[in-house]
Amino acid sequence: MTDSTQTTHMAQALAGKGINYWSRATAVEMAEAMRAGTVTSVELTQACLDQIAAVDGTVHAFLHVDAEGALATAREVDAARAAGEELPPLAGVPIAIKDLVVTEGMPTTAGSRILEGWLPPYDATLTRKIREARMPILGKTNMDEFAMGSSTEYSGYGPTRNPWDLDRIPGGSGGGSAAAVAAWEAPLAIGSDTGGSIRQPASVTGTIGVKPTYGGVSRFGAIALASSLDQLGPCARTMEDAALLHEAIGGHDPMDATSLNEPVPACVAAVREGRENGLAGVRVGIIKELTGQGFQAGVTERFNEAVDHLRAAGAEVVEVSCPSFQYALAAYYLILTSEASSNLAKFDSVRFGLRVEKETIEKTMGATREQGFGDEVKRRIILGTYALSAGYYDAYYGSAQKVRTLVQRDFAAAFAAADVLVSPTTPTTPFKLGERVDDPLAMYLNDIATIPVNLAGIPALSLPSGTAAEDGLPVGFQIIAPAHEDARLYKVGGALEHALAQKWGGPLMSRAPELEVTR
């Protein structure tokens, strides 16, 4: 894929603007260049660290940067490579990790003040896999507190800004990971998706985000928001990069009882197949309920255009209906808040994190939670506590579980007619910071197209489909597959990415505005 002459020219052009080419490179390019000996992991890692130093003062994608640790890993990889050691595919490629994945000895706050200063004594399974993949960890990315939010404005440490327009939200909860990738601070990042927290930030930052099948990536060590909905997944700038990362982090984990005991999907091969062979014989279903009314005109336009590209690549396009999606948002917020109210109980001052000392343990617990949690977290704990209360359980949690079953049936019926389903990832392009922060319901509506996927436990991704005519901001295209069929996402995504790149003459991200260096 890499043409070294072209690379050299591009590198020179960027250097002229004071930009290190390597921060712009894809993970695939980085890995190939390291194998070819044209660059070292230390150089790549330093390029990313330089970019972070240059722009993160503005973007604020990171809560913690571990330059020393990342460079140490990079040096080890370079030494191992020099010694002729066999290395994993992504060895030496730097990565950023969402701050809810625990990293031994590295601060992990989940965006909350209640965990400020906590140093986890253990690694998440995902962290262990990243270390085993020999990838330098650049640091931990910003997020809405405990992943509750769609804008990062609910982070306890201040919002992240969208690199496309610094006055706009980068999405959430994984706005930090998406912005880090979009701001050229990291070629890859890890996100978590409970109701769209990987896909919606990808959509609004012009990047790619994948939510694997529930259980496809171990949740052990990922600070839980809603255990039955949470799933970790890759954030990247290209389909193949995402696929490589997916294969590195996926797989069965005996530490996570809900982890799938099946082989990791062949994501990379699927991207190549879609790119090279197109989509002949693939049935693509447009979800009627996730188009039209309520969707911004420029979003719909880009969506229709992407569908045309799929058709041109050989896909058969049909329309499917999922009538119970109208209840999905309500059911989601009952299930999520119920589980979250329980998952967040452990933040009680006794064993770790913030402690606001009072006369009795009950008062200490109360004062700690009062001071340590932000408004949105408290709002959701209260909602969930109410929904699980004696006498209300059947009406709320019980009904929500029934809706969940209906949503799953809708998907099952739709997948009888189509191999993959598609929709715009979000109804609108990114809104302005502060615009919805005091209107939780408007904030929740941003996830209308992503939430049903989590309720069904199925895989989905978002990739860029261009920018909206009215505001020039990125529009995401969502592809959804049946459970265990993650590879289908990559095949269809690979084909669409290829078609759009040909149309645009390069990836969408190359059209993102340059960020001012603020260091």
Binding site: F220, S227, T258, S342, V350, F352
Partner: protein, 504 residues
Amino acid sequence: MSLTYDNVVERYDPVFGIEVHVELNTKTKMFCGCANEFGAEPNTQVCPVCLGLPGSMPVTNEKAVESAIRLGLALGCSIRDSSRFARKNYFYPDLSKDYQISQYDEPTCYEGELDVVLDDGTVVKIGIERAHMEEDAGKNTHVGGTGGIQGADYSLVDYNRGGVPLVEIVTKPIEGMGARTAEVARAYVATIRDIVRALGISDGRMEQGRLRADVNLSLRPKAAPGEDQSAVPFGKRSETKNVNSLRAIERAIHFEVVRQAQLLDAGEAVTQETRHWHEDTGSTTPGRSKEQAEDYRYFPEPDLLPVEPSREWVEELRGTIPEHPAKMRARLRDEWGFSELEMRDAVAADALTLIADTVAAGVTPQAARKWWMGELARIANERDEDLASLAVTPAAISELQGLIDSGRINDKIARQVLAGVLDGEGTPTQIVESRGLEVVSDDSALEAAVDEALAAQPDVLEKIREGKVQAAGAIVGAVMKATKGQADAGRVREIILARAGVEG
């Protein structure tokens, strides 16, 4: 006037139910790989999972599930094809996640019935509501001040016990036991203890909290003659927590029966509440009132898959369920011909299985009993150990007894051989050979020894001839001493009598 238990049960029908928590003896905890051992230094058997650290997740211990199902089967329960864990949510410092993983609407074992045999042989059927799995909490220690949770200077928490696997067995309401209420309650808990021991899933030691009982009790007036007792509504109940010995079960029931009757007699209401048992005073005091009971907000544990034992597995486990302990005791008593007292002593010493295994190895029941309840019980007591933990097997006892029966050794040497076995010197036969302990039955050697002893005490032969045959004992003793106990005492006696010219 002061009421008595006997007086109250003539006028009221006590209705009670018992919740027994059994700590399982699995190697690891219920949801993590930490050691499940009693008595380690505080907070040394902990990990991110049982400490409830952010991000950690539980994984169900299959062995604990197996133990729970076997216990359920022994209690006559049905086993659910699919059962879920649930979260019981409440804030407490010893509960690391601030929720306990338990089972709620779908316990794995449900609807059982257990025969409880009282001392006089009466069999009472106790309905079992459910037996479900859950994890234990850690342990709080309140230091300084009043020593209570509210008045202490500070509190320490040990999470070693946090996550230890428990099975909670809940009875259906037990009624109509009248004066035998306390006896039935005690016998029920004793039966559960015997069953978990027979199953080998817990040592059932109440004094160490491995088996803990909560007693629910209420009173309702006795129906008038001719009226239907079951038509009389239940009264308000108290739940007395942590009644941790068999004797305390009886005492707590006596206390609560009288306490509640005093209130009812005075026209006052019994408060539905949790009460604490005080062993020293034999009384209960109120804990937190159930009126302000917490709402535990149970919901299915999303981090765990349902427990779905296959029918085949359950049937396989059913094949491992031992005989009901009381019935086994009755059967063995008949088979062995033990007296009631001998049987009770053997049970109390936890020696039944050992005796049974020794009998199975070919020793007569009385000889087996004498070993385990005699010499071995003495040694165990001396060493402050359990019989079962002594380094001797029923097979070794059988071999030892065989050596005695064949005349190769006598009882006294046998004790020396046993000491060798306990010290790990080898099998009884090996020890006899290596220590050269065989009985001397070579007549010429014995005759020489007898003659030597007689020479030292010349008057003995005369005494024997005068009819004082017991005088031979002094010579037997001397010969035994000279041969270090290895002489065949019977043969020695014969030789002495022959020397005296007397028929033995």
